[in-house]
Amino acid sequence: MNIKDYLWILKSRFFEKRNIVLLIVLFFTFLAILITLTFFYITNYITHNNLSSPLSLNIYVYVEDQIINDELIKEMEATNHVIYATNLKSSLSIFNPQSQENIELKPLLDEAETTIKKGRIIENSLEAICPNKFYPDDFRDTLNSNNYIKGNKVIGKTLNINNQTFKIVGTYDAKKIRNSANECYISENDFKSLPNAIDTDILTVKVDKIENRREVAREISKLGFERIEGNIIDTNYNLMYTGLLISLVVLIISFALIYNFIKKKIRYRLTTYGILKVSGYQNKEIFKIDLLENIILSTICFLAALLIFILVYTLIINNLTIFDDMIYTNQIDLNINYFYVLLSYVICIIMIVIATKYLTSKFLNVSIHHMLKEE
């Protein structure tokens, strides 16, 4: 028998009542799988990009009963894995009442922190670099993506800071280091000249790698500093595990549903299969007929579920204003990941194949006489 023969046998059966029920069950099952795997993809993405609990390379050392001076800073910087130590504040909020712009200013202490996208790095005084998608606002109102100043339009813009005019000479990739859309860098010296730029109690220590933070914290504590803060805990996998657990539960329930309905379908067809066997059909041929039918039905259902999924998902994402207040939205890739769509399809087909194979083996290995009596 070739595939045309199988299709010939199936052509009149596709719209049997039981198949309509199976179609509906498969549709909702596959929709659930698509939603779940997308959810898993998003939680996985958030976890592995450390978006749920952003991990900072900074450790904050509280210096009590001591003056922060160059000697202390040098001692800190001598610690293994420390890039720099500074008593400058990590940022200052600057509000310009005329332009109503709110900028978070940061000192550029390590050029490697920022990846320049357009223009150049700071070379002179009164220069600044700002995010490539720049939004000089305090986010009190809903963030509208149309208000971003992007790319080349950022360069040349001026910022009025402490009655001084700074010129933006370059843009950097804020998304990469999880900076807000209004965080700009100026030189260390320019920053120091700003009021309240120096912190008298806290030393900021920058570590070279996330995994070295614990060791650096340990070394600093040996120097006699007891109060050290910073997000030193490791990546929080809870969100990803939650996504994984939900995915597994949905997959198990889906498989159980698919198995149950295929079982009912085969039982209903047992007499038909009995006649085929009487006529000389082997079990493998009957299995292929059933499998082909189930794969065709599954593919139809999957495509229908995918269509609905894309429509609804796009509608939700385009209308989610809650995300407008989250400055990290531009860091989460919320586009549909078609690899996961393909993965969903493959998982669905695998479930269909396993259920069909097992059930046809189980039901076809009884005597034909019993198959014919099953009504």
């Binding site: 009149s12 038909t272 009995g274 009487v278 006529s279 000389g280 082997q282 014919l372």
Partner: protein, 220 residues
Amino acid sequence: MNIENVCKVYKTKNDEVKALDNVSYEFKPRKLYAIMGHSGSGKSTLISILGLIENYTSGKITINNEDISKLKDNDLSDLRMKYIGFVFQDFYLDEHLKAYENVMLPMLINKNIKKSERKEKAIKLLTELGLSERINHYPKEMSGGEQQRVAIARSLANDPEIILADEPTGNLDETNEKLVFETLKDLAKNGKCVIVVTHSEEIKNYADEVLKINKGVLEV
């Protein structure tokens, strides 16, 4: 087809039921055999075993001198395709297929029948059985007698040597019953070995040999 000392024992939880007890017989071509007996005598079990659709507990069955006892399921399927056509009391036609499509169904697995010949052969079989006007009809559009003749045509699809019929007229009226028996008789005259299990006394007017079975024992 030759059966030697064939036994069939059904085991229940507390008991054993001997459906067939050392049944031996040789069935030859060009003959219509009738197997008759009361309900529970073992006649359906016997014909199921002859049709290779039921296992047997002990004994030997040969078809064209080939011992089938050690054959696996796939080999038995091949044998059924080549040598055996089965007709049932309930017809078991596929309600989704037209008459000629039902007849074509067994041909799909027969490599000796070309795809282009299938429909033509099916129509020819139906015509020979007086169903030329029912070729494109679905089973629900036909009478019981017509459906049974479609089932007979289907059993002939791969030109088997042996036709087995299990109560083929059980659901038919007198007129259709005679029609079916006449058809089976014609098949025997044309060289087939036809074995019919039936309650109907009418078969005695057609059968070359009448075998009686009682409590699993074949009385020749």
